[in-house]
């Protein structure tokens, strides 16, 4: 029997697969079968372990000199990834930079998700003048050139964890707000929302317990990609010298080493690889979630 004629899920008896399962469990099953998504999860967990767990067993100062300047990786005194212009170990910088980068990305994403979800939910649910007002505000932020605005915000204030997080958060929420609004507009007119109202549910209850759980799959996908974008924006800011000098993020490490890029490629490349792998992991997970929740979009 050719392989293509085998049952789709030979490991599951009839009636257990597909329609039998709860919506969340079915999506999880789809996700686990997606090799790219699992690779994304692997990348992300590796980066998280590297950034938050490895430093616990690795008592070193990323600012300390360990050898001569510009020692190439693998050579005498160069360690795993070489040293930069001041003789600091790049491997240590990469490991300690992860926490700084990911904390900013997480903080900014939390802000984006909070602002985007609440404004989008209000605009979509209430419509009318609430919608018009919130949409004008959103459009205002949307037409601002994002990175430029973030640069201005960070440059005006001292570059610190909070200003950078705020700057990234304030330019990226409109996209999620519009998506949330669109989902609420779609779902609020469905029968089960009407039915919820007919059993006496309040507006707050309908927004949080009836509509939001149904919009969540779409929003989770979007939030994953937003987190990737936040890391890239942070790297951009830090590269331009607007990183928090107190915490050496990956972007900051790249920015610091860019003058020596032609002779000392490793000081730029390894932190860059770390960013690349993290964002790739997030994108693969995001795509995997999208496929899992909406198999119709597959292969698009």
């Amino acid at each position: 029997m050719p392989e293509s004629l085998q049952p789709v899920s030979p490991d599951l008896p009839a009636g257990v697969s597909g329609i039998g399962a709860a919506p969340g469990r079915e999506a999880l099953r789809m996700f686990v079968r997606n090799k790219a998504a699992i690779f994304g999860v692997f990348l992300l967990t590796s980066m998280l372990i590297l950034s938050f767990i490895v430093p616990l067993f690795f008592d070193r100062d990323p600012g300390a000199r360990v050898g001569g300047p510009h020692v190439s990786p693998g050579s005498e005194g160069g360690g795993l990834m070489g040293t930069d212009n001041l003789g600091r170990d790049i491997w240590t910088i990469v490991i300690y930079g992860g926490a700084a980068t990911l904390k900013i990305a997480a903080g900014a994403s939390a802000m984006i998700i909070f602002v985007g979800l609440s404004l989008g939910a209000l605009a979509g649910y209430y419509g009318g003048w609430v919608d018009s007002l919130l949409m004008r505000i959103t459009e205002f932020f949307q037409v601002l050139p994002g990175l430029l605005f973030a640069i201005v915000v960070v440059a005006l204030f001292e570059p610190s964890y909070w200003t950078i997080t705020f700057a990234i958060g304030s330019i990226s929420w409109p996209q999620l707000m519009r998506l949330t609004r669109a989902e609420f507009l779609r779902i609020k007119n469905l029968e089960y929302v009407k039915a919820a109202r007919a059993i006496g549910a309040s507006d707050l209850r309908i927004i949080t317990r009836v509509i939001l759980p149904n919009a969540l799959p779409t929003l989770i996908v979007s939030a994953t990609l937003i987190m990737g974008a936040a890391i890239v924006i942070e790297a951009g800011l830090a590269f331009l010298g607007l990183g928090d000098p107190g915490s050496l993020s990956w972007g900051f490490a790249i920015g610091r080493a860019r003058e020596f890029f032609t002779t000392n490629w490793w000081a730029v490349t390894f932190p860059g690889m770390a960013i690349f792998l993290t964002v790739l992991g997030l994108s693969l997970v995001g795509d995997g979630l999208q496929d899992a929740y909406n198999p119709k979009l597959r292969g698009r």
Binding site: A22, G24, N189, Y192, K194, A198, I199, G200, P213
Partner: protein
């Protein structure tokens, strides 16, 4: 039965969508234990009437209750006008004293929660019960609407159930707080004929058990004949004729009612013909 004071008295209800009058001066009474059918063609204002009684018609639309009173007798005996009540009072009434079943059982349950959860939520909302007591109540309601294997079914998601079962869940949800008025907006239209008969039978039984007043909206004369005590015929936003089901079927007074009844095909009336019959278009302006 009509000697008792009405539970719900609709007086001169007028609902407008901008310039369009969707319901025009409609009046009728609904009594305890009575089943009232509102019949009429599509767009005659039946559903708008139902949504107006729930005060849900103005949400997300440009509809306005322009005139009239919706006098509702609360369980403590006082009579309130639903048109003038604030939203907070209406929320207490919805689902608790006046419940509604919708036309589409396939889409009126939330796909992300189990059906048992949804019935329990309705109970918790109004009766202040804890999760455990609410779950027990949900199980009891599932038994009452004759869902087989109720305990197992409680844990299922809507997409795992058939249309008929889902409509039973909707009925269980609507009746979970023992409402005095149940509004059913075409409860059987989306179901096939055998399931229709089951659901209608179930509604009858439940009404006998609870003594609730039922207002059933339909365009199906078969449904009317099956369940209704009294009938209100609507056409073009207005009340055409009302009366007991026997009067309406035996001695329809208005030409529109006569035409509506005549439009119901009779089994065997087409025997021997090969082409569809022409339907006489009548205009009652």
């Amino acid at each position: 039965m009509t000697e008792t004071k009405p539970l719900l008295s609709v007086r001169g209800l007028t609902v407008t969508f901008d310039d369009f009058v969707a319901v025009d001066g409609l009046s009728f009474d609904l009594h305890e234990g009575q089943t009232l059918a509102i019949v009429g063609e599509s767009g005659s204002g039946k559903s708008v009437t139902a949504l107006s009684i729930m005060r849900l018609v103005t949400l997300g639309t440009r509809a306005k209750i322009a005139d009239g009173e919706l006098l509702f007798r609360t369980p403590d005996g006082s009579v309130i006008d639903l048109v003038t009540q604030p939203e907070a009072v209406l929320r207490d009434i919805r689902g608790n004293e006046i419940s509604m079943i919708f036309q589409e059982p396939l889409t009126s349950l939330n796909p992300v929660y189990t059906v048992g959860n949804q019935v329990a939520e309705a109970v918790m909302l109004h009766q202040g019960l804890h999760r455990k007591a609410a779950n027990e109540r949900a199980l009891e309601m599932f038994d009452r609407v004759r869902i087989p294997e109720a305990a197992r079914r409680l844990k299922e998601y809507p997409h795992q159930m058939s249309g008929g079962m889902r409509q039973r869940v909707m009925i269980a949800m609507a009746l979970s707080c023992d409402p005095t008025v149940l509004i059913a907006d075409e409860p059987t239209t989306a179901l096939d004929v055998t399931i229709q008969a089951q659901i209608l039978g179930l509604m009858r039984q439940l009404q006998d058990e609870t003594d609730a007043a039922v207002m059933i909206i339909t365009h199906d004369m078969g449904v009317v004949a099956e369940v209704a005590d009294d009938v209100v015929v609507m056409n073009r936003s207005k009340l055409v004729e009302s009366g007991s089901v026997f009067d309406i079927f035996e001695r329809p007074q208005e030409p529109y009612t006569q035409a509506l009844l005549a439009s119901v095909p009779k089994l065997g009336s087409m025997a021997g013909t090969t082409k569809p019959a022409r339907f006489d278009l009548v205009d009652f302006q």
